[in-house]
Amino acid sequence: MAGYVIQRCLQAVVVMFVMSVIVFVGVYAVGNPMDVLIPLDATQDVRELIIARFGLDRPLWEQYLVFVGNVAQGDFGRSFVYAIPVLDLIASRLPATLELTLAAVFGATFIGVPLGIWAGYRPDALSSKTIMGLSILGFSVPTFWVGLILILTFAVSLGWLPAGGRGPTVTVLGVEWSFLTPEGLSHLLLPAVNLALFKLAMMIRLARAGTREVLLTDTIKFARAAGLTEGTIVMRHVLKLIAVPIVTVFGLELGSTLAFAVVTETIFSWPGLGKLIIDSITSLDRPVMVAYLILVALLFVTINLVIDLTYAALDPRISRGAAS
């Protein structure tokens, strides 16, 4: 197992390295970031001065080597736009995205899986058909539209919930969280629901399909023959047997939502990472783009590793297969 983890970590380093090269070359191909940032009316001498100050007059490979050298010392550089260290910038936005994402993904899972199991367990019941019908809506209606409708309904017309922003925060362990106050929660609710809808639909469908398949297997037949109650069968056997695909999707969704919750964050003015990265792209703020994408690569590799370890715990056959 240790060898497996080490191998994964090495893969992560390679992925992150490739990522940094792609971003560097990509931004270079688009153009000099300074052409976007320097005021249009700047004279040539001012322009050259600024370009030299940011080291952008040097050849690309040299800029890249300087960057790698700094990263090796833990310094990702400073944002062109904000002049503050990139890691500070990302760290200041991470808690907001983290709590939004966790609320959405966990919410979707804890509501979606039981609904899905029910729909698979009683496929012909009216309640199941309603659940499945609604899940199609969750799939097919675009996020930005749902977001605006939620704002219009609950914030503008009814006035129950705030239209956006993050609300007051409480500092715990040096990090600012908003879900610990009632007002913070009220700010969190709409964006979390907006972000969760698609995932909810997916979880319902996954759980239903898995349950229907598992119910037909010999395991369940024998369990019933052995006189186990239906509750025990569902909780102990069905849930465990459908867990592997759900955990996979859960992990991937968690990663992609953390990295790219941008639509919801923009609509709800949520001060998270998604907005940061989009702004960085439009202003060609290369240090932020590079650092962010490298960290996202790291995040995905980590999540995949955790998923693989979870598989082994859920289904011992998988780890045995890897060993042989």
Binding site: N32, P39, I84, S92, W160, L161, A163, S269
Partner: protein, 534 residues
């Protein structure tokens, strides 16, 4: 909050187990002004960025040496008066009795410190252009400074509308590239003379300010000001309608149409400083113009005055304003909005005449037209992408096959700087309110040694215009300088290498009857000048 609303809120809170949502949504007391702004500052250091949204936020905390009024006319700020002593010296008399937020006195030392600090700490969106003419700052007495310039600098007071004054004591330790962001973002050096004191700020988040009771203009109307950054136009408006903010800026043209009929909303409209200009490459060879089969043309048709006039005649500015911008703009025929210093009444009004345009094209040797790629920004100013599409259709009507490319500014500006385009459109804001800024950058032939023509990306060159602009730059008499710029403007617009299309307008929206504001041309939303209606 009405009783019904409160009951509903209460029921909902119980239903969801969320307590007290209702009470928190209501806008805070009348003593707080909460503004939803599209863009916020990039730092708390006023010398870091020259961006309009940056200056907008900074004007709450810091004062500028020279103030620019609602229509960008220059007025006394921290300097009470100024006059040129000779060709290379300006004397500024400073206001007495002004105090910084920490109680220390504002003196000439702070002015000198601020000017000398800018070249060290300024970021890529550089403020250097506003102090580049200053060679030396001489302190004569605590309330008099002499600015030595590198030549006659007639517009120095105009440049100083973006010269924010920081405290030379508070900022002393935070004036290198590395220390400045930390010192200012933490509030340690964020000590100004402005109407509001710094409380807190987060990049892309909220800027919170508290009133400075000792402000020299008098006490501001709001005890507390919160500026929330909300980049999405619909969300910002929704926050206003939900009562989360009191005022929003940059209402989109589509929303504006609906808001005009909304009895619960007040709107405020102002001409912006931005004019949309079509720019036609004047080089011998140009890359993006082709014959009808897509093959390069032997010579650049855009150098032919008849072709340029034909393009101008194809543009229906009234339709552009009414249809494309939904009324949120005014047709324009020159590089600056009406009434700015150097705006010329003599430039003839432009009216569309596609038939004559077609005839002119035929005379120029293109009876069947030609083909060209038109490039514009699509994400910089309201309506830029849509105007681009409109232009494409109008050019097609006179037989010029136009491939419209409305693209992100992050691609557009680097390519435009490399002169990869032949015909392109972007907005230009006359931020200082006078012509030297706009004409000097765009219409003078590229001349780095004179620091002129920096944004002349079409290599437009008219020796007569160059002469007029240089003469105006040396002329310290306002009336004479104005006449020179007007003459230059007449010539430039007659040449039609720059074809101005519309002046954009900006809209603010607030709850009905809540507040009064006089909208500013530079689009700033300054809390000090916004007063409660009651």
């Amino acid at each position: 909050m009405t009783l019904v609303k409160m009951l509903r809120a209460g029921a909902f809170a119980v239903a969801l187990g969320v307590a007290a949502t209702g009470a928190t949504i209501a806008t805070a007391s009348a003593q707080t002004l909460t503004v939803g702004v599209r863009g916020g500052p990039e730092s708390m250091d006023p010398h870091y960025s020259a961006l309009g949204v940056h200056a907008d936020a900074m004007k709450h905390i810091f004062d500028t040496l020279v103030w620019s009024g609602d229509n960008l006319q220059i007025e006394p700020g921290l300097a009470e008066s100024w006059k040129p002593l000779d060709d290379t010296t300006w004397e500024f008399k400073l206001r007495k009795g002004v105090k910084f937020h920490d109680g220390s006195d504002f003196t000439a030392e702070d002015v000198k410190f601020s000017i000398e600090r800018i070249p060290v700490v300024t970021g890529p969106t550089t403020l250097l252009i506003y102090v580049r003419r200053v060679k030396e700052v001489v302190i004569v007495d605590p309330h008099t400074v002499h600015m030595k310039t590198d030549g006659p600098a007639a517009t120095l007071p105009n440049d100083f509308v973006r010269l924010f004054i920081v405290s030379h004591k508070a900022a002393a330790a935070y004036s290198t590239k590395e220390t400045a962001p930390d010192g200012f973002n933490s509030g340690k050096a964020t000590i100004g003379t402005g109407p509001y004191k710094y409380v807190s700020w987060e990049p892309k988040g909220d800027l919170v300010l508290a009133r400075n009771d000792g402000y020299w203009r008098g006490k501001g109307p709001w005890e507390k000001v919160v500026r929330k950054e909300m980049p999405n136009d619909s969300s910002r408006l929704a926050a206003l309608k939900a009562g989360q903010v009191d005022l929003v800026n940059y209402v989109s043209s589509a929303d504006w149409q609906a808001l005009k009929r909304d009895p619960k909303i007040d709107t405020f409209l102002a001409d912006s400083v931005y004019v949309m200009n079509l720019q036609l490459d004047q080089r011998e060879q140009t890359p993006k113009v082709y014959d009808l089969d897509g093959k390069p043309l032997a010579k650049n048709p855009l150098r032919d005055p008849k072709v340029r006039e034909a393009l101008d005649l194809a543009i229906d500015r009234q339709t552009m304003v009414e249809v494309v911008l939904e009324g949120l703009g005014t047709p324009n025929n020159q590089l600056m909005p009406k009434g700015f210093f150097g705006w010329s009444a003599k430039v003839p009004a432009r009216s569309p005449d596609p038939k004559k345009g077609k005839a002119l094209l035929a005379e120029a040797g293109y009876p069947n037209g030609f083909q060209m790629d038109l490039y514009c920004t699509s994400d910089r100013l309201p309506g830029d992408g849509a105007i681009c599409q409109g232009l494409g259709q109008m050019f097609a009507q006179i037989g010029i096959k136009t491939n419209v490319n409305a693209i992100s500014r992050s691609v557009y500006f680097p390519a435009q700087a490399k002169k990869e385009y032949s015909i392109f459109m972007n907005g230009w804001g006359t931020l200082t309110g006078e012509a030297s800024y706009t004409l000097g950058s765009m219409a003078h032939s590229p001349a780095p040694e004179l620091k002129l023509g920096a944004f002349n990306r079409i290599e437009y060159s008219n020796p007569k215009v160059d002469e007029l602009l240089q003469a105006a730059g040396r002329e310290l008499d306002d009336a004479k300088r104005k006449a020179l710029y007007e003459q230059a403007m007449d010539l430039i617009m007659a040449d039609r290498a720059y074809i101005s299309i519309v002046t954009l307008q900006t809209v603010w929206a607030a709850d009905k009857g809540k507040l009064r504001m006089s909208p500013r041309n530079d689009e700033d939303t300054l809390a000090f000048f916004i007063t409660p209606a009651k």
